[in-house]
Symmetry: C2
Subunit: 210 residues, 2 copies
DNA sequence: GCTTGACTTGACCGAACAGTCAATTCATTG
DNA sequence: CAATGAATTGACTGTTCGGTCAAGTCAAGC
């Protein structure tokens, strides 16, 4: 049961890093093998295809990075609207980190991969869809809680969550295309407006809290 | 001067269609040649490289489709805020058309290509950036006009335009990934909120940060 | 020390990749 | 008609692609 070889993990991480830094296109089997320092035979010992590795890599990224980060950001101990503030900071910090460590703003690997492979890799795209939906679920439940507390006044938390998520991903992809972390920040003001517009005028303090 | 052959145009259109329907990755020289019914020698008679064709194809798409459409949508004869309504309809109609004609929602070819090639094709990405900026310029000048007329109350039309544009592109890419035209519609409500929040008559200016 | 099965290796395959090129067709114009 | 240059053709190059495979190495359990 215990893994006697780290090759599998190295392959997963080489794949996700390459997708993120370059693209799924650039993540050729040879390139992944070289980056992970694994020979091609071993690659196909662990994964039945390149697509299978990519799918496993998405799960691995979610489990090791995205989910823990989201669990912290959307912690129940934080007031629901404050979670969004924290989310904004998180995305911005990551964009700045990216540019420092990789020389480029890289955006969201799920979103880039989803867009790139939507018309070619249905299996992979289905996995991306599930992960994006799960991500959006964090936003939705925070909005639901905020609504229940009377912090905001919106009709459909699900639709609002979809909007906010699209705004985040849109800004993040703009940041990637323009290689400019400040583009991520753009959505901070807009988010305030999207949620803020639903705040009853009697409690303007909650808007400032955000 | 007059074009004695349509091969060049056929190549431009085959390239843009393939990028749009599949991806830049799928747009191999052989695939483009087959789609355009042009032999490989002719390809390299008209274009010095695949990248050069892609860049020319972006210009061609802008000149023949995007610019005319935007000039109509953002016509000075239309009230500034009505232009946004028209823009929403345009994006939604296109998504529905896509699914009918191509079997898939395809999103924005500039945005998809930009995200895909951002870290690999600087020349192409620069062209994408210029086109996206020009697109955003239409939004910005409409917001400026709306502000001058007192229709909305925003601090920075430039930043607001960037937000709205990211929202549009984000929703559109979601629609591509989920192959669901309704995802494009999501931003209609949000857009109303983003702009509407600045309309003095309807909302008592809760968040004027933007 | 023998078996077992996870892991590793590097050579190999056919297809697809971007790009080259010499030879040829074709429409225009002097 | 002859000349010219744009346009076309298909065979070719060297490389990279995803994937296969036979022949191993190696550590643990009997």
């Amino acid at each position: 049961m215990s893994p006697v070889s780290s090759a599998r993990i190295r392959l997963l991480e080489a794949m996700i890093e390459t997708i993120w830094e370059r693209s799924y296109r650039a993540a050729s089997v040879d390139a992944i093998c070289e980056r992970a320092d694994v020979r091609k035979g071993s690659f196909y010992h662990f994964f039945k295809s390149k697509t299978a590795l990519a799918a496993a890599a998405l799960d691995h990224l979610w489990a090791t990075h995205s989910k823990p980060a989201l669990d912290e950001i959307f912690s129940p101990s934080r007031p629901p609207l404050a979670r969004f503030e924290r989310l904004i900071d998180y995305w911005y910090e990551r964009a700045v980190e990216c540019q420092r460590d990789h020389g480029r703003v890289l955006g969201c690997p799920y979103f880039s991969l989803g867009s790139e492979t939507a018309a070619a890799e249905p299996e992979l795209t289905a996995k991306v869809r599930k992960i994006l939906d799960r991500y959006q679920g964090y936003l939705e439940s925070a909005l639901l809680e905020a609504k229940a507390r009377g912090d905001i006044k919106i009709d459909s938390p699900a639709e609002a969550a979809a909007c906010i998520f699209s705004l985040i991903e849109g800004c993040s992809t703009q940041a990637r295309i323009h290689n400019d972390p400040e583009r991520v920040r753009h959505f901070a003001g807009a988010l305030e407006r999207l949620i803020g517009a639903g705040i009853p005028s009697t409690t303007p303090a909650t808007a400032a809290e955000l």
